[in-house]
């Protein structure tokens, strides 16, 4: 099998091939390393490529197969992750200048679980500074660029995750989603991304952005791949009091392509406001595919989501201002304009208003779920209503432009974080400018299984997820720490 053929396999396919000894983990990891080096100069998706450690782990994975060891579901598969999941003693930058040499003393539960499942840690990926920008700009480590067109944004904040998975530099990636940070880069790069239910996945030793809204989720090329990673990382964790004790299903076992009778809701308000013509066409096409599979399409009127957007900001601004307070006081110049601007407002929101927003959350979530999910099983919406913008179009010229830019991009994703619901971004084709367009499926709390089932059924009928970005590749990276370096 050629390196290109290997890299075009899905995560589940390559895991299966490794397990059946059709290919070694070492071959696969070498192919990923070569691809990562080749695409890095164009898209800048890595902050650190851990080549030596990854190849060593791959050799160990192959030895384990040879001696008949018990194998985990990700055995020997190279993954790379947003640079925010702590591993004791290893640098985790959070895409920031401030943490460029930060070596945490603890290891994230999700990192331990990936390791226990046999995954290879290929490296740490670029991300928006401190997970706080939905475009993928990063003035400290260099902007991450969209593999479908490098003038365009990757979306963020899990920018490197979306770009690296789309560019075939790894088979899957962990990102985090506080207001759209998994779904936006998944959508902009044409890969699948899950924002799980709040509490479904442990946040222990994950760089914090907004405690009450942060979720950790996978990005990969297929829904099945995301289902596999989610099963590995989800579940109770004694070290994170917000991690839920709800049992974790075997998501993959439920993927049978059958969605006859599933009620798919199409919103009549909010999500389609100011949508571009080609994004609307892709939404209509994807709804038609689901209808052809037997889903019942139901038009639904939703409760006000604009209001939820501002409540999300009330929580997000105050918590992030608290988290960054020391640095905002001592080294404000080391933050980018976007992060500084959106953090500042948190200092002036009264404590009572912040708690009022938190206190309203259970009631509003209940009202929303009952109003919507008593009529439908999943909600289908565009992730973004515009074509993926360019880096230049989304570079704010001053503090006055930041909040409107953020609102434009995260309008359809941020309210879902307030509600805490799971949402799955699925590629649905391309815009007239040949950039990916995606829909998101939103479900009841802990309905990840149903989202995977519907998304997987859609991918069985379509080939968008098999398209490969037309990247020009050049060999370049030579050091363990990849080309990106703080400015």
């Amino acid at each position: 099998m050629s390196a290109s053929d290997l890299l075009n396999l899905s995560l589940c396919e390559v895991a299966d091939a490794i397990r059946r000894k059709k290919v070694s983990s070492l071959e696969v990891t070498r192919a990923c390393v070569a691809r990562a080096r080749a695409v890095q100069p164009s898209i800048n998706c890595f902050i650190a490529l851990e080549e030596d450690d990854a190849l060593k782990a791959a050799r160990a994975a192959d030895r384990a197969i040879k001696v008949g060891a018990k194998l985990g579901p990700l055995h020997g598969v190279p993954l790379a992750h947003k640079d925010m999941f702590y591993r004791a003693g290893r640098v985790t930058t959070g895409g920031s200048k401030i943490l460029r040499d930060y070596r945490p003393t603890t290891t994230a539960t999700v990192a331990e679980r990936l390791d226990a499942a046999g995954a290879i840690w290929l490296g740490n990926l670029n991300m928006a500074e401190l997970a706080a920008n939905p475009t993928g700009h990063n003035e400290h480590w260099g902007h991450c660029r969209n593999p479908w067109n490098t003038d365009h944004i990757t979306g963020g904040s899990s920018s490197g995750s979306g770009a690296a998975v789309a560019a075939r530099a790894c088979y899957g990636s962990l990102g985090s989603d506080t207001g759209g940070s998994v779904r936006l880069p998944a959508a902009a790069n044409g890969v699948v991304g899950l924002k799980p239910t709040y509490g479904r996945v442990s946040r222990y030793s994950v760089l914090p952005r907004v405690w009450s809204l942060d979720t950790v989720g996978p990005l990969a090329r297929t829904v099945r791949d995301c289902a596999r990673i989610t099963r590995v990382i989800a579940g109770a964790d004694k070290r994170d009091s917000t991690a839920s004790n709800e049992p974790v299903p075997n998501y993959e076992r439920l993927l049978d392509g059958r969605i006859k009778g599933v009620r798919v809701g199409v919103p009549q308000n909010h999500f389609y406001d100011e949508i571009s013509d080609d994004a609307r066409r892709r939404m209509d096409d994807s709804i038609a595919v689901l209808a052809k599979l037997g889903a019942r399409i139901v038009r639904v009127k939703l409760p006000d989501l604009e209001h939820l957007y501002h409540l999300t900001n009330a929580i997000g601004q105050v918590e992030s201002a608290t988290i960054y307070a020391k640095w905002m006081r001592e080294r404000p110049q080391d933050f980018s304009l976007v992060v500084r601007t959106r953090t500042e407002a948190g200092y002036f929101v009264p404590a009572v208003s912040y708690v009022e927003a938190l206190n309203a959350r259970p009631r509003i979530a209940a009202e929303f779920v009952r109003a919507v999910f008593d009529k439908i099983d999943v909600l289908h919406t565009p992730v973004m209503t515009m074509s993926v913008p360019t880096l230049a179009e989304t570079e704010p010229g001053g503090t006055g432009e930041v909040m409107s830019m953020l609102a434009r991009i995260t309008r359809n994703t941020r309210p879902i974080n307030f509600l805490g619901l799971p949402a799955l971004a699925v590629p649905a084709g391309f815009s007239e400018s040949a950039l990916p367009v995606s829909f998101q499926l939103v479900g009841r709390p802990f309905a990840e299984d149903l989202l995977f089932k519907v998304g997987d059924a859609y991918q069985r009928e379509t080939t968008w997820h098999t398209q490969v970005p037309p990247l020009q590749c050049t060999e370049a990276v030579s050091s363990r720490r990849a080309t990106a370096a703080p400015a």
Binding site: S244, H307, A314, A345, A365, T399, M403
Partner: protein
């Protein structure tokens, strides 16, 4: 329930509560943003009950499963 938050208030809070200097122009931007989220929170709170509390959120998510 639109409440005006003044530039002056933001500047005073910045100085006296946080020890921060904020320009007149930036304070005006912050005043608008804070007014938006503050109004949203106050408006939401109008329907909050006496016995509501934020920690019910995790329990509520489980209760809403199906």
């Amino acid at each position: 329930m639109q409440n005006e938050i003044t530039t002056e208030l933001i500047r005073l809070m910045a100085q006296q509560l946080r020890g921060l200097e904020v320009s007149e122009e930036r304070a005006a931007q912050l005043a608008k943003e804070v007014a938006r989220v503050n109004d949203a929170a106050r408006s939401a709170a109008a329907d909050n009950g006496f016995n509501d509390e934020p920690s019910r959120y995790a329990v509520m998510l489980v209760a809403l499963k199906s």
